[in-house]
């Protein structure tokens, strides 16, 4: 599985970091678990894995997704209407066999409430047991993260932090000194959602972060292979794509019965997801090649 001709996994702190370093430039994909059903999610995750995803984030739906734009909000609603529960989610994860390590993305209250009393540990322990490699919590800033960080450290999970366009100065230093897995670089202010271009804020952020030697992956708005190329060219180690994939799932129709046509829609969606992942991965590689070309052709200026 190693195409970077590289190092053994245990050279890195975690399999999340290894997945990014060894498959550089990495493709990280997000879909919402249970949209439109957990059985479909299994097929979709496997398709993304085949298509070239190097890390896969699975959303555990929460009723108040404040960091999400309209696309993922709708996916979360579909998943909740389909009756997705944390336990069903963990069973799905335990059932998955992918090359790409899996991360869970969910809101803090879902983590707190998993056990009988509000406490992060039961969730983290169950996540480790089910085979997850890391956790991303969009409403948990570093200041509030100590309990979860300790629980993750004890179980060997990565706790991935988001770096926003507004994260600067001393806070940025503090967060970057604690990076676990990779730094999730938020490409622009606002919520998740597919966009038509790569924001100037992305270039600014990557320039600001270039001095930190940690894997950086850029998300929020990435939807096309060309975006992936541009972002990798600008210095990212990976791209994170969510809403563009969720759009594909939504376009293949509502949650279904077990009818034949539903099965067709589901396998069509899987094929489309696999193709999209492959396009994004090609784009990311193109971005990495540009960097190499630039090196060879120096002193030519970098691509715009």
């Amino acid at each position: 599985m190693t195409d970077a001709g590289g190092s053994p996994v245990d050279e890195y702190d975690s399999d999340v970091e290894a997945a990014i370093r060894e498959h550089h430039p990495a493709l990280i994909t997000y879909i919402t678990a249970g949209d439109p059903s957990l059985a479909d999610t299994k097929a979709y995750v496997e398709a993304l894995d085949r298509g070239g995803a190097d890390l896969i984030e699975l959303g555990l739906p929460f009723s108040e997704p404040v960091a999400e734009g309209a696309t993922i909000q709708a996916a979360i609603n579909r998943a909740l209407e389909a009756g997705t529960t944390p336990e069903g989610f963990f069973e799905l994860v335990a059932d998955l066999e992918t090359e790409a390590p899996l991360l869970v993305m969910t809101y803090y209250n879902m983590i707190l409430q998993y056990g009988a009393e509000p406490d992060v540990r039961p969730f983290v322990e169950r996540a480790a047991e089910a085979g997850l490699s890391g956790i991303i919590v969009p409403d948990l800033p570093a200041e509030e993260a100590d309990p979860l960080r300790e629980a993750c450290d004890d179980t060997g999970l990565d706790l991935v932090f988001i770096i926003a366009p507004t994260t600067e100065g001393e806070r940025l230093d503090r967060i970057m000194s604690h990076v676990s897995g990779f730094a999730y670089v938020q490409a622009r202010l606002g919520t998740t959602g597919a966009r038509e271009n790569v924001s100037g804020a992305t270039h600014d952020s990557l320039a600001r972060l270039s001095e930190y030697d940690v894997p950086k992956a850029v998300g929020f708005g990435v939807s096309e292979g060309d975006h992936a190329a541009e972002i990798v060219d600008a210095g990212a180690d990976g791209v994170i794509v969510g809403s563009a994939l969720v759009d594909i799932i939504a376009a293949h129709g509502p949650t279904g019965s077990e009818t034949a046509s539903r099965g067709v829609a589901s396998s069509d969606a899987a094929a489309a997801l696999e193709a999209k992942a492959a396009e994004l991965k090609r784009g990311a590689r193109r971005g990495a090649d540009t960097i190499t070309d630039d090196h060879e052709k120096q002193p030519e200026p970098e691509q715009p």
Binding site: E64, V66, L80, N109, D139, I163, R171, Q186, G190
Partner: protein, 436 residues
Amino acid sequence: MSMEHEHDDESESGRAGTFGDYGGQYVPEALMPALQELEDAYERYVLENEDGFMDEFRERMRDFGGRPTPLQRADRLSERYDREIYLKREDLLHGGAHKLNNALGQVLLAKYMGKERIIAETGAGQHGTATAMAAAHLDMPCEIYMGRTDVNRQRPNVYRMRMNGADVNPVEAGSGTLKEAINETMRDWATTVERTHYVIGSVVGPHPFPKMVRDFQAVIGDETRTQIREQAGRLPDSVVACAGGGSNTMGTFHAFVPDDEVALHAVEAGGSSLEIDEDAGLAPNSATLSTGTDGVLHGAMTKLLQGTDGQIVESHSVSAGLDYAGVGPELSHLVETGRVVPATVDDEAALDGFHRLSRLEGIIPALESSHALGYLERAAGPAGETAGGQRPRDEDLGDLVVVNVSGRGDKDLETVLEETETRDLEAAPDVEVFDG
């Protein structure tokens, strides 16, 4: 003002921005620098009166807002309940509710901070109207997010906001009430945070909002404490206020928290039932302090209405302003420590409270405030008159009681009319009164 009290409430665990186990800052990373900036501004301008901020705030609350509001002895209620009942008349504040205290404070603060745009959520529309008025008064562009259900049941307030030049954005998600409006306002803020201030409408949300909003609202209790001493010669035995997010509640209680002999009663919406229907994701009430469990919503650890998995359930109350699945973290803490006693009043008892105050005192209260009046009836009312003789007298209230009338009920007339027609309410006038 509150900030001069010595008893301030830094966390027992020592972390800033918490009240015991409650509070904190559970927000997306993008907002953290803005919260830091807000905390700095709050400390400088509000706590330290830098550039005369608090002087300007008080002056505007007097000239524009109409402060101080009266503390009025309610003669006929006093007779009915056989004790001294005083009403704090926040319904007489400009805009018709206590909400202006906070809205004007925050819009003025935003101005001092150099922000260019105001956004706010609203449930009943009272906070939205107060914010729109304050923004017009201080010449700031203003956008309000309001759930679709609330837009439909609080039309007059939508018009008032528009009259004051605010844009009102209906939020279609979920049940279309306050919770969804807050989600959407937080999303706007996460996008525009560099030049926009989010005027949150209650003592909820991430630090420093719960403290800052409380401090702007604390004028209610500060005035009350002085007024009751002048008028009754002593502190009250108990203070009663309704609680949604809890801003009128904390505003009224804050000055009395150190007075151990004063009982503090927070009255929540009991809705139609206190049970949660987990399968439907629905709580037919908003009784967070009385029945909620600890969790994180809208930036703070607090008591919540949630299912066992952690999904937040939809709340309900006949009063839009109480219809919320969370509550301010400081109130959760004060309930946990036993300082504040929570109680619930159902839709019907609140409607009766509405009619009773209208009839006996010539004051039409907001449906939110009517819950406090419903509680008064239950705790102190003539035994047996409406509950088949089974209603116990509540010794806690004592002989001298202050009830905060947080707002006036003009906005609720349509709802009250509909709800009264379908029920047999003890205190309501004949339905023909409405048919005219």
